[in-house]
């Protein structure tokens, strides 16, 4: 990756935890999607969130992003309370959803300009950094094309760059590499590492166990609860497994919930 992309957060990460959860719970009627989870994420950390489909990881992430109100428990994101300081949180986070979420009928630069604009990035900054970002992504030749015409891998890289454009302190990635080929996935993780290197906290959900190995620490969710939280190396040691795949299988096979 081109080191020129300047992805430094606008202000140095707060001294405390980037994300702090205590007994965070989400109920839909009788169904407990997220069951009293507690954890904290350090600034600049790549924090992996693993779980089978329906384990509750997306729901947990949505509560932290302000897309969903918790039923009970406490949580702060970038030092702001998820109940009362939604607007403050929104200023400091980036978000990339499971679905591809740029506009297919806009060009890459128009997408960058739009999202930069609604996050309140100054025009001058957008004019400078927008084209630079296009160059660093290697999209110069596709600049006049609409995003809909790009291959999925490029779209996902662009979506990540857009999520980082306003220089958030924490970025939430919801299964960002779903359906992407292995080479592009590798490049994508290079971008994540680079961002983390500038002090941005990365909160990422994934299905891929090789990706789990790239994270500093991971949690494994089963049926709405956190079953394990540690570094990949410690987890392998604790469960006496050679790789994360086995660790995950040992924990997740007890799950009673499948696709939600």
């Amino acid at each position: 990756m081109d080191p020129q992309i300047n992805l430094k957060p606008s202000s140095p990460a707060a001294a405390g935890a980037a994300i702090e959860c205590k007994e965070l719970t989400k109920k839909f009627g009788d169904f407990v999607a997220v069951d009293r989870i507690s954890f904290h994420v350090n600034p600049g950390e790549i924090f992996g969130f693993l779980g089978a489909n329906g384990a509750g990881k997306t729901t947990a992430m949505r509560m932290l992003c302000g897309l969903s109100y918790p039923s009970s428990g406490h949580a702060t994101v970038a030092g702001f309370d998820v109940y009362r300081q939604q607007e403050k949180i929104k200023q400091h986070i980036g978000y990339m959803s499971q679905k591809f979420s740029l506009y297919d009928d806009l060009t890459p630069l128009e997408n960058i300009t739009f999202f930069g604009g609604i996050y309140g990035v100054a025009d001058k900054v957008i004019k400078e950094r927008g084209p630079a970002l296009i160059r660093s992504l290697g999209l110069e030749n596709e600049a006049s094309k609409l995003v809909g015409a790009l291959p999925l891998g490029w779209k996902q890289k662009l979506a990540f760059a857009v999520a980082m454009f306003h220089q958030p302190r924490i970025v939430f990635l919801d299964e960002p590499t779903g359906g992407v080929d292995p080479v592009t996935r590798r490049q994508f993780w290079d971008m994540i590492y680079e961002a983390a290197g500038t002090g941005v906290t990365i909160f990422v959900t994934t299905h891929y166990m090789d990706e789990a190995e790239y994270c500093n620490r991971i949690t494994i969710m089963v049926d709405g609860k956190i079953e394990a939280l540690d570094t990949p190396a410690h987890l392998k040691q604790r469960f006496a497994c050679d790789n994360m795949d086995e660790v995950f299988y040992r924990l997740a096979r007890t799950a009673r919930r499948s696709d939600s």
Binding site: G66, L67, S68, K90, Q91, S97, K99, Y103, I118, Y119
Partner: protein, 368 residues
């Protein structure tokens, strides 16, 4: 404010890059105006009329000449047998036939009473009625001219005038109706689809995570269609005045104001629909079927409201287009001022406020 501007600019990109949207936006008004103006007209022009005159009869010839000079008919003089006439009617070659009996002049002058037979194609009741009316009017006129020769009998002649539309221009009725229909479709369907599309593609989620005020999403979605609808209104008005010869009798400013109000009502409707659905197809279906049909039926521009059962007349009051149609007709055709249309405008205001309140209250700031 700058954020809103950025958002609105993006909405314009969406509109101008989508061929379907553009087609609905600018193709529909053109087609509808021309369709209603020309194809679906109830006027009778150049109707084929066969006149049968058995003998050389001066009065019959004078009357024939008079009918010939009227623009309504395409007169042919032929001698046809009754079966031949029926054949022509069946083939649709003629719309009407007029048969002079032999001795028409002498009957009229000597016996003081003459008859002639008018046959029309009753399978098209409206046209046939109109033709019969035209012929009767011309015959009566002819009769009056000749009465000068005789001592005046006691007569009452109703002098008919169609106020606000002396020439019986059918387009006059349709233009306000088409305006209502187009604005309703464009504002409601396109706006609801534009919002729902963001939900469908998942971009709404990203917008809700951003610091952009969720309610402003609705504003940003509505603004382009407001601007484009006003442009549309101007195009329809120009077509109406210069192509269909429909006059604008009243204040252009007032007309513009009423239209603006109606556009906002329709936009609110569209936003409400977009709240209730999460697929573009459903949104389009509700807008088209749920609003277009009631608009056509209950506005009164095709089917007179006065002829409907009371319950339907009552329902029609809930249709915004009904009030708009009434106000536009009053201003455009009768040249009335605000004193005569404030009631309609107030109704639109109330509906808009109601719709917007529900919409904003129901708009989901959070997805769950």
């Amino acid at each position: 404010m700058k954020q809103l501007f950025v958002f609105i600019r993006k909405e314009f990109y969406h509109v101008f890059r989508d061929r379907r949207t553009l087609l609905i936006l600018f193709g529909l008004p053109l087609v509808q105006i021309l369709l209603f103006g020309y194809a679906l007209t109830s006027e009778v022009k150049n109707a084929d009329l066969v006149i049968m005159n058995g003998s050389v009869d001066p009065l019959a010839q004078q009357l024939t000449a008079k009918l010939r000079s009227a623009a309504f008919f395409n007169v042919q003089e032929k001698q046809l047998s009754p079966t031949a006439i029926e054949k022509e009617f069946k083939k649709g070659n003629i719309k009407a036939a007029l048969v002079f009996p032999s001795g028409f002049s002498s009957d009229f002058i000597k016996a003081r009473h003459a008859t002639l037979q008018v046959l029309t194609d009753g399978s098209e009741p409206n046209i046939s009625k109109t033709i019969a009316q035209y012929i009767s009017a011309i015959v009566q006129d002819f009769q009056r001219e000749h009465q000068a020769m005789a001592p005046a009998p006691l007569t009452i002649t109703p002098e008919l005038r169609m106020l606000y539309n002396e020439e019986g221009n059918g387009s006059i009725n349709y233009v306000p109706g088409v305006l209502a229909l187009i604005l309703m479709i464009v504002c409601t369907a396109l706006t609801s689809v534009a919002v729902v599309r963001e939900k469908e593609t998942g971009t709404m989620e990203v917008l809700l995570v951003s610091p952009f005020k969720p309610v402003m999403v609705l504003v940003a979605k509505a603004v382009p269609f407001l601007v484009l609808s006003l442009a549309n209104f101007s195009i329809i008005l120009l077509l109406a005045v210069y192509v269909l010869n429909v006059p604008v009798a009243g204040s252009l400013l007032l007309l513009f104001l009423i239209t603006l109000l109606f556009i906002i009502t329709s936009l609110s409707f569209g936003l409400l629909i977009s709240n209730a659905t999460s697929s573009q197809q459903v949104a389009l279906l509700i807008s088209m079927m749920g609003l277009m049909l009631p608009t056509i039926i209950f506005t009164g521009f095709i089917f007179p409201l006065e002829n409907m059962p009371l319950i339907f007349q009552w329902i029609s009051n809930l249709i915004p287009a009904k009030w708009y149609y009434a106000a536009v007709k009053a201003v455009m055709l009768k040249g009335l001022g605000i004193a005569y249309v404030w009631k309609e405008m107030l109704m639109l205001c109330i509906m808009t406020t109601l719709l917007l309140t529900i919409t904003v209250k129901r708009f989901k700031i959070r997805l769950a």
